[in-house]
């Protein structure tokens, strides 16, 4: 499949998983990765909410990103007014959606949590949601460590159908 050439917004989960399977270098080599400051903080030791934690070097992480955006209060407010369900997300996920919804260009978002995907479905942005597996495959990289299920393309496809049905948004 043709590799996406536009901005790729990655959340904390996607960054940590890419790091866990040693795919970060391939990922940032293949795409213009962007995130928000909250997600950068959440990838650091003590903030990951993971056991065990990945050792993610902040400088290396930032060097691989095209941008780590500051999210403005106005962007947060606009997102939460547009869909109050954004409040059901964690800080990084919430900030990334607030940033994404404020952009006017074409982006894709890699954030595997079902609640994050549900926001995309509710806001008719289903086509903007992409799996980590698909991003890596399109660069020709196959991680030696298997990705967890929520980062795989078949899981994403199934989950988007399930969420769309539940939200009454069957394509």
């Amino acid at each position: 499949m043709a590799r996406w050439r536009g901005p790729v917004l990655v959340d904390t989960n996607a960054i940590i998983e890419a790091w866990r399977v040693n795919a970060w270098r391939a990922l940032c080599g293949g795409y213009a990765l962007e995130t928000v400051e909250e997600c950068v903080i959440e990838t650091q030791t003590g903030y990951q909410k993971r056991r065990p934690e990945q050792q993610i070097d902040r400088d290396t992480l930032l060097a691989g990103l095209k941008a780590a955006h500051t999210v403005l209060d106005a962007e947060r407010a606009a997102a939460l007014v547009r869909d109050g369900e954004i409040a059901m997300l964690d800080e990084g996920e919430k900030a990334l959606w607030a940033h994404a919804l404020a952009r006017s260009d074409a982006w894709v978002l890699c954030g595997p949590d079902k609640a994050s995907l549900r926001i995309g479905v509710r806001l008719n942005l289903r086509d903007r949601l992409i799996s980590l597996e698909r991003l890596l495959e399109d660069t020709g990289f196959r991680p030696k460590t298997a990705l967890k299920s929520a980062y795989r393309q078949d899981w994403l496809s199934r989950t988007l159908v399930e969420l769309a049905q539940r939200e009454g948004k069957i394509a």
């Binding site: 106005a74 007014v81 109050g84 990084g92 609640a115």
Partner: protein
């Protein structure tokens, strides 16, 4: 996709600040107060600019208006504790409020309805201790709590009375438990790290508060004793709790208490308390109330080292309690969380943070309650 929470929180904050709808209309630049009313009832959506104006002018953070995982202007607590600094208790109350708000919010998200009926006891501050004890006896009998009422009490409270019972690990070991009343939900929190006898007594004591909240609202903070100190409501709560956990029939059948002396009495006390999963001191006071022990004997025995830790050698009771420590929260709570996660109603990182767990610990939590884990993240 209007966010009704924003209007509700705006109304709560306005009332807290003693502002009228006209005051808010002027602040927002609306022509009349009807627009404010429409926002508060969710009929009109607040724009992002108006929301930011509210944040700036009313001095509340954005999360105040949008975060469903906090209790705002609601939720009254009764804490049972020993020597917990007020600031520490206040901080933990906020944490507990988030957990309770999470249950309420996620329950609503997955389609659970709050209980239709709220149960109460026909007791007042003027009721006698004997009345409270009789109510406890009847509660145990009518809910068929069986020969060891402590074992089934939490299950009965959740199933029959729709009271959410949560086993928690508070930030301070001196927190024994709490009762919390919301408009549509009753909750009891119990420190799962306490010995079983104390946990069960706290549970039955808080049950009394839940069932008598309107007639005799409990104090915000009370000392965790089995005798209730000088506060009449707490004494009534303890009479009720004692009778629920130690019904007279069971206690009388356990021994010919009046005939036992010294070591034999202590040995039977400790053995009976272990069997009923209460503390020996609670049993001593129950025997006194049933006039199976004199008050003077009860005072002497209650102060005795021989019944400390139900007579187990020092540390043994403490060492073994971890094995019988209940799993965090409750099965009902965890089932709601699992459904909400599976349906994408809340993000895994969000709920893990609210419960002070890692994403990976959540899997252990589901397993501990035999609840199928949602998807792997």
């Amino acid at each position: 996709m209007a966010n009704p929470l924003i209007g509700q929180r705006l109304k709560t904050l306005r009332e807290e600040k003693k502002l009228s709808q006209d005051d808010l209309a002027r602040l927002f630049g609306f022509k009349d107060r009807q627009t404010v009313s429409a926002i508060e009832t969710g009929e009109r959506r607040l724009s992002a600019d108006e929301l930011l104006l509210a944040v700036r002018e009313l001095g509340a953070p954005l999360d105040y208006f949008t975060d469903p995982f906090r209790l705002v202007g609601e939720g009254r607590f009764n804490w049972r504790q020993s020597n917990v600094p007020p600031a520490v208790l206040g901080a933990y109350e906020r944490v507990a409020g988030q957990i309770i708000a999470a249950f309420r919010t996620l329950g609503t998200e997955v389609g659970e309805k709050p209980p239709l009926v709220r149960h109460s006891l026909r007791l007042t501050k003027n009721s006698r201790f004997e009345d409270a004890a009789e109510a406890g006896e009847r509660f145990a009998a009518e809910h068929t709590l069986g020969d060891v009422p402590a074992q089934r009490l939490a299950e009965v409270m959740e199933r029959d009375l729709s009271i959410l019972v949560l086993m928690v690990t508070p930030s301070h070991a001196g927190v024994s438990g709490a009762a919390c009343r919301l408009p549509e939900l009753d909750v009891v929190l119990i420190n799962r790290d306490e010995v079983p006898g104390r946990r069960h007594f706290d549970l039955a004591h808080e049950l009394f508060h839940i069932l008598t909240w309107d007639a005799m609202p409990p104090v915000h903070v009370e000392d965790a004793t089995e005798t209730g100190g000088a506060n009449r409501v707490e004494q009534l709560a303890n009479s009720f709790a004692s009778a629920v956990l130690m019904p007279a029939r069971i206690v009388r059948e356990a021994a010919d208490w009046r005939s036992l002396r010294e070591d034999a009495l202590i040995a039977r006390l400790n053995a009976t308390a272990d069997r009923l999963e209460v503390t020996s001191s609670a049993l001593v006071w129950r025997l006194a109330s049933l006039e199976l022990l004199t008050k003077a004997d009860a005072r002497a025995i209650a102060a005795s080292e021989a019944i400390r830790n139900n007579g187990h050698p020092t540390g043994l009771f403490a060492d073994t309690r971890a094995a019988g420590r209940p799993a965090l929260f409750s099965k009902r709570f965890v089932e709601i969380v699992a459904r909400a996660v599976e349906e994408g109603r809340v993000s895994i990182r969000k709920i893990a943070g609210l419960l002070n767990l890692s994403v990976d610990d959540l899997g252990d939590l589901f397993a501990a309650h035999g609840v199928p884990a949602p998807y792997e993240l």
